[in-house]
């Protein structure tokens, strides 16, 4: 099963390599990972999407907690109701024949055109991972040049916070 895990860490030298190393060294997989500082610049927040049965994910969260620089770990998929978002930039071949279709798809997915050139459109779509994935599938036949996905970020619903 896929799990979305948020990790609050000390914003210190080498933290990312400790976390990445933990995953590779113990054979856990990372499907996506996003990191950025929080309001308090001494901490960073990571969102990790991983896959594994319950025992493995339990080990992952315990092992993360064991790292000295990790302040808090929440496995959303297990513990909490949460909202998730991902952003994707998709650069497409924009030919006279498919421009209208690209714009129509962008409209349907409530995306935005963020860059236009003679031959290309770059579209931004934000939403759940599922929505972002669906958009990419829909525009693939239209001639995708490249994509950049942010990886998922997540936050619990209601009052709860990571810290």
């Amino acid at each position: 099963m896929r799990h979305t895990i948020s990790v609050l860490v000390e914003n210190k030298f080498g933290v990312l390599s400790r976390i990445a190393g933990l995953f590779s060294g113990r054979g856990f997989n990372i499907e996506s990972l996003s990191v950025a500082p929080t309001l308090d610049s001494s901490t960073s927040r990571m969102t990790i999407v991983t896959r594994g049965d319950d025992d493995i994910v339990e080990q992952i969260t315990k092992q993360l907690n064991k790292l000295i620089d990790v302040i808090k770990v929440v496995d959303f998929t297990r513990d909490e109701e949460f909202v998730e978002r991902e952003i994707v930039l998709v650069k497409l071949n924009a030919e006279p024949s498919n421009r209208a279709e690209i714009l129509r798809m962008t409209e349907i997915f409530r995306g935005k055109v963020v860059d236009v050139s003679a031959r290309t459109y770059t579209i931004e779509v934000t939403g759940t991972e599922g929505k972002v994935g669906a958009f990419i599938e829909m525009v693939k036949p239209l001639g995708v040049i490249e994509i950049a996905r942010s990886g998922k970020i997540a936050m619990s619903r209601g009052k709860k916070s990571l810290g």
């Binding site: 080498g14 080990q59 064991k66 000295i68």
Partner: protein, 567 residues
Amino acid sequence: MKEEAKELTGAQIFVESLLKLKVDLIFGYPGGVVLPLYDELFKYQKPRHILVRHEQGAVHMADGYARSTGRVGVALVTSGPGATNTVTGIATAYMDSIPIVVFTGQVPTHMIGNDAFQEADIVGITRPCVKHSYLVRDTKDLAQTIAEAFYIAASGKQGPVLVDLPKDVLVNQAKFTFPESVELRSYKPNVSAHVKQIERLADALEESKRPVLYVGGGMISANAADELKKLSHHTHAPVTETLMGLGSFPTADPLQLGMLGMHGTYRANMAVSHCDLLVALGARFDDRVTGKIDEFAPHAKKAHVDIDPTSISKNVKVDIPVVSDLKDALKKLNTEIAKRKADWRHKHEDWLAQIAEWKAANKMRYQPKKNIIKPQFVVEEIDRITGGDAIFTTEVGQNQMWAAQFLKLNRPRTFLTSGGLGTMGYGFPAAIGAQAAFPDKIVIDIAGDASIQMNIQELGTAMQYRLPVIVVILNNGFLGMVRQWQQLFHGRRYAYSCTEFQPDFVKLAESYGALGLRVEKPEEVGPSLERAIAARKPTLIDCVVDREENVYPMVPAGAPITKMLLA
């Protein structure tokens, strides 16, 4: 007016900090970038510095010091090759959760990443085998970092911490204030046992008809042997120990089952396989202990007390998890047990009778031969002559297992062995580290002829500092344990496991000015040990033993632990 803190160089701050931490010994080896530091060690003349012969030796010595004293061991080396030479020692300490702090020199901060002379990314190289590590980037952070490093190494689940010290950090100045105490918001190591879980554990013990206490190295780290004895004696629950747990519970105690697992005793493996309650205390269900995991303690409810949540339910599903400092948990458990009205003495008499039967059926034994020294006999002689009042270390292989099987240990911290990593070359430097901590004790490394050659250069260290370690080589002319596996599982094809060339160990010892003795007959073993002990100087005893003796019982890797080869 508040006293202004003094400006000191990083090197001075280093020494001052170690003195604040009451470090009395450093095992080290100098080189370019740490020279400012060595200069200060020279000027201060403290802490005492022991010059090793190889940086791996320094780390094993710090480890031996830590295991024998319970205090943090300290190693200090230079950058690049000095740092990379520490890796095996650090990994050894990591696998066995031993508190050491390793200081490595580093090239100046502005040169890091430039492939400068003797630069190695030692923080990166050791990342998977340290509890934590630091690259100090500013002299003003140095004192705080050193305080944190010691705190982290020694608290919670203990382990090695590495502190990388760039040269400019040692040379630059900063105000020196040493933190009174360390608080880290991301690290809260002092966990105490949940009362509800302790009650559940007490219930389980009360209900159990066939309990076993399964004790690992955590018992020694937690200094909880007295509480264990109390628990076992009060509840009449028998105790089995892992290799790492040896010394937690006296070998001669009637409730002692001996070591379990691959080379465990018949009764320990049978008891674990038939018990209805297995209480793991600071043990981690390692594969060398469990054998085939699905058939490990198949009838037992399992409880697990451990300070490290990651080791609970990692390999084996546990019914009663207790995340706690072991001493705290056992104290609470003993209090709880004392309230219970169970007839502890009689409630599992049948079980103890069954264990006695298993014990009688298959004692730890070997076939003595008239003119050939059996390696087990050597260990028995060591035990007889020291009366167990010594610190023992081992190398890795058959020597290690025979030491584990035939020594009678009375106290924790008297059996130092590389359990998790199985590092050949560990025993001798670890013995030197222990001897440095306890100059008046008898310290004996039980060695194999191959292992001893991995760090034999430390004879120089032992001589220089007059550390009268005794090395007893069980010399079979083979990589014995490898040969045993090849004999049993690879059709007797002894592929590259015979050390066809050997040095003359006696002359080798003598070339260092140490005492060298060669022993070829069983009746010479005892006298040679007595001579070594009386000599009070580093001694190598080369015992020529039966070449193809095997360690039994043996559970083939991956088999259930009831499937023991007994001879």
